[in-house]
Symmetry: C2
Subunit: 277 residues, 2 copies
């Protein structure tokens, strides 16, 4: 595909780039339509996602700092020609975004398919691995969990309704775009979600500093679902008492590991045993 002619935007109130206005405020209240992809790494993965057969994500439009166009032209060529590319000066771009946007690379993406947890679970074959997060409301942690899930071959990530949106700009950036590559579903209570996962025959393991098994002793084979809870309080006791639990050995008397790091270590251990890496 050839590089489309970029369209110069000279007015921050131009309706063609309205979705990029006041990015941070919209981050806080949530977007009705689409998500913001920021930076070249995420842009490249958005292009890859868009070009798949039956894509899960597509790009709607791209907005660049004018002096970044040449540097990302190889990525721009990957998008279909009907995805408009807008460019603006630093002053106009900052006026649009509402803050100084030093990366200068933005795209508006849209999620096209909304698979249910059950859809995703039925696509996982043995030996397999999925990650489930309950109550992870920190965007850094959600982003890191997707990055780790991608690194260790998790087939899907399931988020309960109390997790934050992984398509939020910062989570997507921290995930280095993995949110666009690892299939995910979000919604329902932790209880409902785990009932669905159990009903599909997965081996459910809840990760907790109080877990009884060593994470290294999780039996390989089958399809394993690793469940992580919030930092601080962790998974609720009723979940820990209903499922098998595992912990990561660490020095006593400390705050437990960060939730995303702990998930990464557990995914790493399970992925090795499942032959996924």
């Amino acid at each position: 595909m050839s590089l489309p002619q970029p369209i110069l935007i000279t007015d921050a109130d131009d309706p063609r780039i309205a979705e990029f206005r006041n990015i941070r405020e919209r981050d806080l209240v949530g977007r009705q339509a689409g998500f913001i992809a920021e930076g070249t790494v995420v842009l490249r993965l958005l292009a890859a996602a868009h070009n798949r057969l039956n894509p899960s994500f597509v790009a709607e439009k791209i907005l660049l700092l004018e002096n970044r166009v040449d540097g990302v032209s190889d990525i721009l060529k990957l998008f279909p020609e009907d995805v408009p590319v807008y460019v603006a000066s630093a002053a106009v771009l900052d006026a649009i975004a509402g803050f100084h946007l030093h990366r200068g690379v933005l795209a508006l993406g849209r999620r096209v398919t909304m698979p249910t947890a059950q859809d995703l679970l039925r696509n996982v074959s043995a030996p397999g691995l999925i990650a489930i997060a309950c109550g992870i409301s920190n965007h850094d942690n959600i982003g890191s969990m997707f990055r780790n899930a991608a690194a260790f071959g998790a087939a899907a990530v399931l988020l309960d309704e109390t997790c934050c949106d992984p398509l939020y700009r910062k989570a997507l950036r921290v995930s280095v775009g993995s949110v666009l590559t690892v299939p995910f579903a979000r919604g329902g209570t932790a209880d409902d979600l785990l009932r669905t996962v159990a009903g599909e025959g997965f081996d459910i393991w809840a990760l907790s500093p109080r877990g009884t098994a060593d994470v290294r002793d999780i039996p390989a084979g089958g399809r394993i679902a690793l469940v992580t809870g919030t930092e601080g309080t962790g998974l609720p006791q009723d979940i820990l008492s209903r499922f098998r639990t595992a912990s990561i050995p660490q020095r006593p008397g400390l705050d437990s590991l960060n939730a995303a790091t702990a998930t990464g270590i557990a995914l790493y251990e399970i992925a090795r045993r499942q032959g996924l890496v």
Copy 2:
């Protein structure tokens, strides 16, 4: 020790709390004297550090939102009585800090001892483990590395001169105070630092996505120094070619793991083999 009488501050320009003024601006330019500890978790570890024999860190003063005093009184009792506790209303506190400080718990700490890398290395017995970071300039990553080092029993963290300051407010917070518990030294080029470490007889392993050994196959015993480089470019080639290298198995074709997560996984593997956890 009994709880000292808190001193009410009603004027953001009061010289007694001058070090807390415009916290974010000072974060950017660096502080001449002391560091800012923020939040109850870090405050508790600062108290523990202060009370050690020959402490490495002491508290100079504490500044609290007035309605937080009762909630942290058990921590305040741990500080010597000559550490003043100042309190302020939300409006005054925000005017002091220069932004809305929703945690409302601050302390000014000071590093008392400045051990050299050699001092720290000579204190490590076998089987032992230390973490070395070269060029980690992201405060989240530095904080996470200390948290992981603490969790997996690293005896010290050494930072080359291009690493950022782990006592920076955000790094300290992300470390959940581990910067105050894991001995560290910072300075010198990566080359000089690694020469010192090699001279002290440590087994040096450089962590890299291009590493030749599997991180699980690092031989146990002795004193192991794990070296991590920057995200993105990683360790420079001349370091990778001079020392043994190890990698973490992961799915091909992806951005490598986050530097702090990769360090965490490698420390976890080595700590297990060294019997540290």
